[in-house]
Amino acid sequence: MSLFIIMLKEIVDNLRDRQTVFYALLFGPVLLPLLLGGSLVASFKQLSIDFDQVTTLSVANTDKAPTLIEFLYSNNIDVIDAPANIQSSVRNGETLVVLEITEDFGQALRDGAPAPLTLHVNNADKDSVKAARRVNTILNVYEQTLSNLRLQHRGIDPSVFDSLNVVENDVSSEGANGQLLASILPFLFIMSMVMGGFYLAIDTTAGERERQSLEPLLSLPLSRTMVVMGKYAATVCFVLLSSLLTALSIYTLFKFFPVELMGGQVRFDGATVTHAFLLVSPLIPFISALLISVSAVTRSTKEAQTYLGLLMVIPMAPFFLLQFLNIRSTLVSMPLPMLSQYQLLESAVLGDSIPTLHIILSVVGTLGATAILLWLAARLYQREKLLD
């Protein structure tokens, strides 16, 4: 009962604190997904080329190569005349790229020699590079066609030059883009959980010591373990709320996401997000316990912020570890809190099947670590030094 009263008081108390509310309900669940998701969309848009979209291309000396112009046209490129000063126009960004057909282009073609073409591109400008890639791709196809024609003309089968025929078979359910997305999802969840409970945990433990309101509280007829658990329960509520909101905003965000840009069939429907949330949910009690036990050691809010600031590295560590080392999901990695959730969520988003044993190990390992941390927090509250 007193646990419930303490929990309720801490929640009401902290809902009146702007800092706590901002970080718990706005920063983690809304701003962070928007920032990360937004930049992700932008970078995908930058990289991917939509060949079906009709675009224009400035070409100098269009009359020298009517067949090429025809070919470009059939590949959704409308040719327009090049500006007078090609170089400065491209450098200043007035024109993205300019294809310059040289005077002797037609003659070289007729002679069966390499026909010179110049593609003016500004490598400092991403849009220019992207436009150049599209043009290059189309020109490559054109070149291939011409080469084949020349070979056939001389009675040679063009396929004799293809000594290898490599077929890449991607066995993952999604491509590499999906992989990146899949590793960002657990990061978002864990970050918002930490941010959600961060200020409440500090305020209810270190803050209480700093305000010197702990001494009268502990002299009331209730056990100290109840006091810690009440504060823990309040933290769990905030972390839960924060992660639920994150799930909601991830779902909303990916509804507006141009999924076809991700290069695969990544689906962020309600089922995937719910599945991901359930897999990550054992971290709610775990992260709350971690926050409470660390801030129970500290004497002031400033000290607590320092320690917990360092603690922020922990949710980020698996993210970078997995990016660089590509650790596989094993029975050893599964009982480790955070690392296992990262791996499970990646699999879940990529649509890979997850062995039930892995899920059980992850849940048991995380909850076991939670129990140890809670025991530690309760022990820390029994110390006489708590009142110094």
Partner: protein, 258 residues
């Protein structure tokens, strides 16, 4: 009623070298504290800063355990019957320690609920205390901008919320202006008249002389002398409490030297 017998408490010295002998690694906060505080009486624990007043009160409030010696509140041993002691004791530490984002009423109600009152009773009890301590004007304002006097009233109301028989106040008049101090003295006198046992710690001689029926002078963790104001003056052969205090503590340090 409070009975303390030979209370002793030491703390680890911060940054003490482990190579030093054990007794040098620890600071003795309370060496030998014995005194008695009766019901219906205001007992003053008088001593300079660092004399061990707060540590003594913390031991009585079951926040820290005495290493040796015993103490009891209304017959309950502070080391053995922790919860009963807490139920019979209202403790106000030397800084108000109230929650700034809660209103005065919410602060009091929170403690009432934690002491086991249900919602209805806690509302009624905090209403009573707000009336009793004349807090009506600021009862529903958040404690953030409260004056020291207002904070002290809220803290006192919280200490009284479970109707404890014994009440301990650690330097309650610190930072209060004249009017607030007078108001608080009247409240303390009234509580004693109602039959409560009041233990009041202070380092201000005049205050203790003006308010207390019974005085225990504490210095360097030892109760040097204990009795009513007249008894103390008589035994030390002095005419005011300040001189009596000096002579009592000097007698104590002489006793140490011999």
């Amino acid at each position: 009623m409070i009975v303390a017998e030979e209370l002793y408490k030491s703390f680890k010295r911060v940054g003490a070298s482990r190579r030093k002998p054990a007794h040098e690694q620890r600071i003795v906060a309370v060496n030998s504290v014995s005194f008695k505080a009766d019901d219906g009486c205001i007992t003053g624990l008088l001593g300079p800063n660092g004399a061990g007043k707060s540590t003594t009160l913390r031991m009585l409030a079951t926040l820290v355990k005495p290493e040796t010696g015993t103490a009891s509140i209304d017959g309950y041993d502070v080391s053995k019957h922790v919860l009963q002691v807490r139920q019979h004791l209202g403790f106000m530490p030397h800084n108000a320690g109230i929650y700034p984002r809660l209103t005065a009423r919410e602060n009091i109600q929170y403690y009432a609920r934690l002491c086991g009152l249900n919602r209805k009773d806690s509302l009624q009890r905090s209403g009573e205390l707000i009336e009793q301590l004349t807090m009506t004007k600021f009862a529903d304002r958040r404690a953030n901008g409260f004056s020291q006097g207002q904070k002290t009233k809220v803290a006192l109301a919280r200490a009284l919320v479970h109707r404890p028989q014994t009440i301990m106040l650690d330097e309650p008049t610190n930072g209060l202006d004249v009017m607030a101090t007078r108001g608080l003295r009247d409240i303390i006198r009234q509580l004693a008249a109602d039959g409560h046992c009041i233990l009041f710690s202070s380092h201000i001689m005049q205050e203790v002389a003006a308010l207390c029926d019974h005085i225990a002078i504490i210095s360097d963790g030892i109760v040097a002398i204990e009795g009513s104001l007249n008894e103390i003056l008589g035994r030390t052969g002095q005419t005011d409490l300040e001189d009596a205090f000096v002579s009592a503590t000097q007698a104590l340090s002489k006793g140490d030297d011999e």
